[in-house]
Symmetry: C2
Subunit: 464 residues, 2 copies
């Protein structure tokens, strides 16, 4: 008689196996505002790569689904327990194994937090560029599994551009190394890029070799600008790209989002910032220029903004620049303080930003919803936020989100710029990619995961 999965896991993993109430409940959630229906069979808190391999060997033997999980900060339900699954948590794999300054790379375990890596690099004069807003709480492995973006992508690239190689545990427990420690290398297919953004559906990332960069020298110039409405702010941000300058940061915050940030921060924190001087209905654009060309670029940015009807405040010291960025960073807590929140993530070509903001406004009016929106305007990625009460996303929010995705795709964009497909967006996958592409992608998944045990239901519809 075959032995029970839990017995096998217990024998192989000892203390790393957690079947306690708290662990099983916690695995039902991430930061998406979604709560899964099912508890997992068990949570495995792997303490070593060997633990990950053992768990996957047992999963393959027993046909048990596995949900790989890092810091649990996903925004698309990509690491939430599914029915009868083992949640394979790699957050304890949190060692920085190597920092190689001469070759501008670091080797880290998957559970290392993005912020922790940067804290370790800063005293050496280096940094890791991918900069999701969640960097203090999200892990490098999770950033890679979702190909995370962030605030700096137009200038410094997305996660994929910072990953040189990976160590991955395959569905059957074998260890696979991809990529290399060199800047260039074209031997075989680019499996590193294939795993980047694969959301735990092809293997479990346990280690990564990532590119690091020397900290950017020179002044940082920050420009805050108020606009009478979001349309003119969006037009200004598109005009900045068209003016051939590339600020490191270019963030747009609409009036509904600003109102919530103001309430959340309170009058004391707002005093003395450009936020204080905003009139009702005004939108806010925040640009930051760095490196040797900062001052020259900032002058162009300010000129474009003023021509587009914005009022600018320029700051050339790093500390006051950081205070301006803190306004942006307060967005998620400010929204979350009001209820549960579904954060959307469409991205459009930068010239389509004004049209996408119009579409959001129109959809909000039609559904009677306020949709506070923030955009990484420098790269065309928008986060419209839906706030709701209770555990379930209400039907009219899904309906509005559906229209919003379709509007983004119709403008030449994508339904997810940086959060991933997860469970929450898989129903729109074929609408964006087409059936042929989805069929090929399912074929690739079958090569890596013939039994279909890796994160079933994430990215693709689960088997019927």
């Amino acid at each position: 008689m075959p032995r029970d999965v839990l017995d096998l896991l217990g024998d192989a993993l000892g203390d790393a196996l957690d079947t306690g109430e708290a662990a099983l409940e916690a695995a039902r959630e991430d930061r998406s505002g979604w709560r899964g229906e099912h508890r997992p069979l068990a949570v495995v808190r792997a303490a070593s790569v060997a633990d990950v391999q053992a768990a996957l060997r047992i999963a393959t033997e027993t046909g048990t689904p596995v949900v790989p999980r890092g810091a649990g900060t996903g925004l698309a339900g990509g690491a939430i327990a599914s029915r009868g699954s083992i949640v394979l948590d790699v957050s304890r794999l949190d060692r920085i194994l190597e920092v190689d300054e001469a070759n501008e790379l670091a080797v880290v375990e998957a559970g290392v937090l993005n912020g922790a890596l940067n804290d370790a690099l800063a005293p050496r004069g280096y940094w890791y560029a991918p900069d999701p807003a969640s960097r203090a709480i999200s892990s490098i492995g999770g950033n890679i599994a979702t190909n995370a973006g962030g605030l700096l992508c137009a200038k410094y690239g997305v996660t994929r551009e910072a990953v040189l190689g990976l160590t991955v545990v395959l569905a059957d427990g074998r260890l696979l190394r991809t990529g290399r420690r060199t800047v260039k290398g074209v031997t075989g297919y680019d499996l590193t890029a294939l795993f980047t953004g694969s959301e735990g559906t092809l293997g479990v990332i346990v280690e990564a070799t990532v590119r690091i960069r020397p900290i950017v020298a020179g002044d940082v110039v920050t420009i805050a600008a108020a606009f009478p409405d979001v349309a003119s702010a969006a037009a200004a941000s598109a005009a900045i790209t068209a003016a051939r300058v590339r600020p490191a940061v270019l963030e747009l915050i609409d009036a509904a989002a600003l109102a919530r940030i103001g309430e959340y921060l309170g009058p004391e924190a707002v005093a003395g910032t450009p936020l204080e001087a905003l009139a009702s209905g005004e939108a806010f654009l925040l640009a930051q220029c760095d490196d040797g060309a900062a001052h020259a670029e900032a002058a162009v940015v300010a000129e474009v903004i003023e021509r587009a009807g914005g009022r600018t405040t320029v700051s050339t010291d790093a500390a006051s620049g950081e205070r301006l960025l803190d306004i942006r960073r307060a967005m998620h807590p400010a929204i979350a303080a009001r209820g549960n929140v579904l954060i959307e993530d469409v991205a459009v070509p930068r010239s389509a930003l004004p049209a996408m903001f119009r579409a959001i406004e129109e959809i909000g009016e039609r559904y009677g919803l306020v949709i506070p929106t923030i955009a990484h305007a420098g790269d065309g990625n928008l986060h419209p936020n839906f706030v709701f009460e209770g555990d379930e996303v209400p039907a009219e929010v899904w309906a509005a989100a559906d229209e919003l995705f379709r509007a983004g795709v119709a403008l030449g964009g994508t339904l997810t710029g940086e959060h991933g497909v997860g469970i929450l967006k898989r129903r729109w996958l074929a609408a964006e990619l087409g059936e042929d592409s989805v069929e090929l992608q399912r074929g690739i998944k079958s090569v890596f995961d013939p039994a279909g045990i890796l994160n079933p239901g994430v990215m693709f519809d689960p088997p019927a």
Copy 2:
């Protein structure tokens, strides 16, 4: 009775079908110094995407192998006719379909030459960064199929980082679109990156959406440096990376290569350049700094070079900088003028450059071969050159190349930095990647090309 492949192609393609002697002979070669044993059945010079689709539909129906080919400038035998194949030449697909400055992208057909795209972009103030030394003669589609590198990769990235989306004709003639026009986008697996560097084994690239950049503003500072030997030049280039500066160009030329370049250019062209002042056995390092930080960076580079024992010549005007780079660009014609040449392409972590140069020297001595070598030192990519007489690469050259590849891989490097695996390097694929990786990659190929008609024998061993 099934109709003959040539009849079917003739009916479907008319004038696009070429079975003339000259076309069939030309398809046996690329620029690798290798000449294939077989003529193809036919060359199809596709005049439209529909022609590519028709050829592939017929190939699938009849089980005929297809060798996709662009400008024919490959260096690894990846587009050479195989036995009984249709060579599918896309070089006539040479239209620039769109330049979208506001979104910093261009849409081009696969046959557009890299240099032609840059010529079209320059008057608008934009450029396309991937810069293989062959840019005047190689096509964007071929650059993508090999994930081409070039001189600027440490600072401006390889081809993969410049490709946003592709249109690909699949083995059965269906059209697939991958990627998007946005900076970010994570819906589904990254098929764009998977096709980039796939050497015609997964589909035929017919169109690409590529990232363009504003032309870099500010002075360009060029530093030429002479070193008493290649070891000190290699140590200096590794020290430049370690000094946290990132020149746009950092090229190293050894004494054997310099001697050939000097002979090829002749005393008149050499007069007045730093080449004239070189003593026998000296090596040459060429650095170019650009953007707002050029002067500050160049000062650091010059200091590092002088500390490492180099004599510098600094040039701050673009024209004399270009003359210095022309010395580098004369390398390939200078070597080719002496016989047939096998250009190798190992890449190593940058700190391993001195060790790799030592290995090349040692291998050369052991085999009694002079191996003139040039390196993209900024990214650790070396091109050791083997010159030989006649059509066949001599056995001792292959034996020396074999040791050279193994030395590169043992130093943490790769057997091909930018040229691709093609036919010529497939025998070393598993030595670098491991059997598990090769098995998975063959699995991916089967998903896209179940009948195995796309470029059989390239990248992977042909079916027995």
